[in-house]
Each structure stands twice: as structure tokens, then as C-alpha cells.
Subunit: 309 residues, 2 copies
């Protein structure tokens, strides 16, 4: 338990960050959160909020000096669906991450945890990606994340702070961009629409965003250092995922969508699956929400949003 | 020949950069050079000089917009002997390099060439390092250089500019920090002094700084992209190097130093040698100055500096 430790969460209003506040409180942290905009409503009660633009190194330094957190959980990054892979904003977020890390160390910080990605690895045909596998990203996003990891970890060693890096594989959940694969499948099935898909035989490891945020909360409250893959340890094909969703939708509203697999070719590897040995054995983490439970929740959420999202 | 192409050289007053101006002119470039301080003397006649602090992104952008170079050769980095390996300035120079690359693309630039390092590779026991070998740096300097390579190359692809990255192995020459290995060996032999050394059996590939600068000039005036190792293709042990230097010194002034090999342990790999296939076959480069010629010149230069350097 991290009783009395003060953690600052960046990107705390985001798709992933919003789910981290509750599990961090459960771990005993005094939770502070950062947003570039004022926060209202339910979220406002879940942490002590601070406003700063992390792309401005001066603001970053000032807010870190004023909070002086012992722990930092860094989710903030440019993440606009479809654009983030090759946006020049990745350069700005890499530089912002380095400024944040320096400001954290200067303000007496002890442990930094950042959000990495399976896009850092060399995508080759293999069974499972291990944290020690070569980094050879094929996108600007993956390159910038791998750079934040390499330079961040090396800097942390010289600055004598702890550094851990959760490599996220695949995630989904409420508030997701509607064009991403799980929302697209759910909406096609919910509203009996047609959806063009890739071949659908690719194996992936999907976790609900809330489960991934829980894994990060556990990484924060541990002494584990370096990269840690984040996944359930279970593989599913996109076709399999579509069938699970179709089954759930059919059971409640008796219809399904027309998913046209093979309409285009997916450039990713046939298997993109994490070895989760560090996460499950070193950290002892098990997901608090299964894929099945997460899909049930996501379907209910998309249904509540209505057809015109 | 790069007739009429306009190149900007950063770090142009540095140990390596100072040697690049003449070969770039020979390749036909209109040579512009950047320095953070006013430049006088001989150097002032070798290029069109501009003054800017690359650690200030605003200055970088302004100077790139005013010069609008077609080519950029980027040597500038923090390089203080003994300190550069683990200095936090590596973070600043990584960010500065990304700002420079963006400013160059925005100002209509076509081809970027940067200076990388053998410190980017995973130092494992192997015969030769190939450009495709995994990057797993063991220093902050190596991590920041690998990050500049990964993120820079991926950004260049999205910005539709060419990107090449010369990975420097070992270099020496006039104006070098006196504590580095070749100056230390030369001075010990010149002034018959004692010098504590590591075991001395490590194999390295040394080139004079002027030869490395010439290789960079050829990379600039080519269409080669990605990483290119820079070396002579010939290996020498530190003991062998000491013997060559001792022989040259003995021939002219009849004395030698007392080199105490094994006084401490060197943490580097037993062999740290580049495969120079890309450099010699794709680029057709051969060194214009041999190790032997470079050592003769370096000995003369250190002799001219006198004992009290």
C-alpha cells in the first residue's frame, strides 16, 4: 500500500487516465491529476485537479514544483484516432515527456511510470512479444514512444529515480473513438449495419481500458522497473471478437450486423500478443474485468449513446 | 556533385564539424554554418556563418526560415569529455534535434543527415555491428542518439524528406580533449610520462576526425537513407595503437612513455567494430586519410601544443 504517497496523473481526463484515479486511491495514494482544461462534474471529485499545458516546459516545471509528487503516472500524449500514428505531434509529446521527467526529478520525485505501446517492437512473425525484444517501430507514434522509453529509462538511472513503462497492447471501452475496431463492430451489430473489415484472422490481446488503468495503478505501487507488457494473456481473433459481440447483441435485441471480413488487408502482424509474465508473476496482477465483462459493458454504453454517435 | 545545393552545418566549430566545411565545398555545396558564438579567423572564411542557439526552438525556426537550406548536416550535441555519457543535456539535445528537423522540413528542406554513435547498439559480444542490429544503449548519450535516430527517421518519412544517420565509432584528431585515449597515449609517449590504461586488448576502429567528416560530406551528397556505420573497416587494439604511436614518437624524438595496461578494467565490449559495407559499397567511400597518417598528424599537433596542455 502506498499510504501517504502523493501521485500525479497526467492525461487524467483521457480514455485511459479517467479509469486510473479510483484504483490509485484504492492503493492508498493521495491522487493529484493534471488536465489542460478545467474539470467539472463527477471527475472533479475523484482527485485534486491542477491545470497545466504539458507542451509548455515552463508550466510543467511550475506545476511539478507546486505539487511535489512522489510518484508520477504519465498517460498524456496525442491520441486522435487515425491521426496519432504519423502525426508530428508525436515529436512534441516526446519532448514534453522528457521535460516532465526532468521537472519531476528536480521536484524530488521518486518513481515515474509511463504509458508505452506494442508499436515500439519490431513487428515480426512471432508467438509472444517479450519486454527484452528489439525495438524497431514502424510508425512515428511507436518511434516516439520507444524513444521516450529509451531516453527516459537512461535518464532516470542517472537521476536516481525509479522508472517503469507499461506497454499497452489492445484496449477498448466507453468514450472510445467510434471508428476504432471494437466500437465499429459493436455499432454494426447493434444497428444491423454493414461494416468492411480486414481479414479478421489476426490474433490480438484486448483488455478494457479500466483493466489496463488498474494494471498501471499496481505498477505505480510496486518496485518493478523497466518495460512491462500489459495484456490479459489471452488471444482472440477479430472474427472471434465479432462473434462474441454478435452473440451478446443477439441475446438482448435479436439482430446482428453484416461484417464483411476480407474487404481490405490489415498491415499488422498475424499475431501481436504480449508475454505477460512480468505483469502476472513479478507483479501478481490479474485483470479485475474480463474481456467478456468489458464487452458487455461497452455494448451497454454504445447502446446508451444511440445510433447517431 | 551537389552543385547549387545549399547545406547548413550545425556544430560547425566543433571537433568534427570544423573538418566538414572543406569536403562539402568540394562536393559542390553552397556551405552555410551555424554556431552559438561569433566565428573569427580562418574558419570565418570557410562558410557563410549564422549565429543561433539550437536549444531555443524559436531561434532554430527563425534561422532555418532565413537560410532555407536544401540539406542539413547536424553535428551539434553536448560532447564534453567524461560528462557527455550521462549528462541530462542529452535530453535537451534530443529535443533540440527534433525541433531542428521540424524547422528544416517546414523551411522546404530535402535531405537531413545526422551524427549517430556506436553507443546506440546493444553492446554484446559479436564480430561486427550491422546497421540493422538491435538498439539497446547502455548510456544516456546512446539512448538519446538512438531516440533521435528512431523518431527522426520516422518523422522524415511522414514529412517526405530524406534522412540519413552516420553512426560514428571511434575518432581522434587535433583539438581533442587531452584526457581521451589517443591524446593521452600520444602525450605520455611524447613527454615520457606514465599512463594508467585499461587492459588494452579491446579491438576498436579508429578514424581521424577529418576522415569521418569527409564520410559525412559524401553521405550528404548521396541518396543513401537510414543508418550508415562510419569506420575504416580495420581493427586495432589499444595496445597496438600505443605501439604505433610509440614507434612514431621514438623515430623522431627517441623516447617513449610508460603505459601501464591493466591498471583498470574497461567496461566496453572486447570488440566494438562496425560493418562498413554500406559506407564502402553503397557509397563507394574510402578514407582519404589512413589511421597511420592521422596519427602522424595528431602527434605533430600535440607536440606543437607543448607539454602543458
Amino acid at each position: 500500500m502506498a499510504t501517504g504517497e502523493r501521485i500525479l496523473v497526467t492525461g487524467a481526463t483521457g480514455f485511459l487516465g479517467r479509469h486510473a484515479l479510483a484504483p490509485l486511491r484504492r492503493q492508498g495514494f493521495e491522487v493529484h491529476a493534471l488536465s489542460s482544461r478545467p474539470v467539472t462534474g463527477q471527475a472533479a471529485t475523484e482527485a485534486v485537479w491542477h491545470q497545466a499545458d504539458l507542451l509548455d516546459a515552463g508550466q510543467t516545471q511550475a506545476v511539478l514544483e507546486s505539487i511535489r509528487p512522489t510518484h508520477l503516472l504519465h498517460f498524456a500524449w496525442y491520441a486522435e484516432h487515425g491521426r496519432f500514428w504519423n502525426s508530428p505531434f508525436n515529436l512534441d509529446w516526446l519532448s514534453a515527456t522528457l521535460s516532465l521527467l526532468k521537472a519531476f526529478a528536480a521536484a524530488g520525485g521518486k518513481r515515474f511510470v509511463g504509458a508505452g505501446s506494442c508499436a515500439e517492437y519490431a513487428w515480426v512473425e512471432k508467438e509472444l512479444y517479450d519486454e527484452q525484444d528489439p525495438l524497431r517501430p514502424s510508425s512515428l507514434y511507436g518511434a516516439a514512444k520507444a524513444s521516450a522509453f529509451l531516453t527516459g529509462a537512461a535518464y532516470a538511472q542517472t537521476a536516481k529515480i525509479e522508472f517503469a513503462w507499461g506497454r499497452i497492447f489492445h484496449l477498448f471501452g466507453p468514450y472510445e473513438a467510434p471508428g476504432r475496431i471494437i466500437p465499429a463492430l459493436i455499432r454494426a451489430h447493434l444497428w444491423s449495419e454493414a461494416l468492411d473489415c480486414s481479414q479478421g484472422t489476426q490474433l490480438r490481446d484486448f483488455l478494457p481500458a479500466a483493466a489496463i488503468a488498474d494494471a498501471f495503478a499496481h505498477i505505480c505501487d510496486s518496485g518493478v522497473q523497466g518495460a512491462v507488457n500489459i495484456g490479459s494473456g489471452e488471444a482472440v481473433t477479430l472474427r472471434g471478437l465479432s462473434e462474441i459481440i454478435a452473440g451478446k447483441v443477439a441475446a438482448t435485441i435479436g439482430r446482428r450486423g453484416d461484417i464483411r471480413f476480407g474487404a481490405f488487408h490489415d498491415a499488422g502482424p498475424a499475431k501481436l500478443l504480449p508475454s505477460v509474465q512480468r505483469l502476472t508473476q513479478e507483479l501478481g496482477w490479474r485483470t479485475p474485468i474480463t474481456l467478456d465483462e468489458g464487452l458487455t459493458e461497452a455494448i451497454a454504453w454504445w447502446k446508451s449513446q444511440g445510433k447517431q454517435t
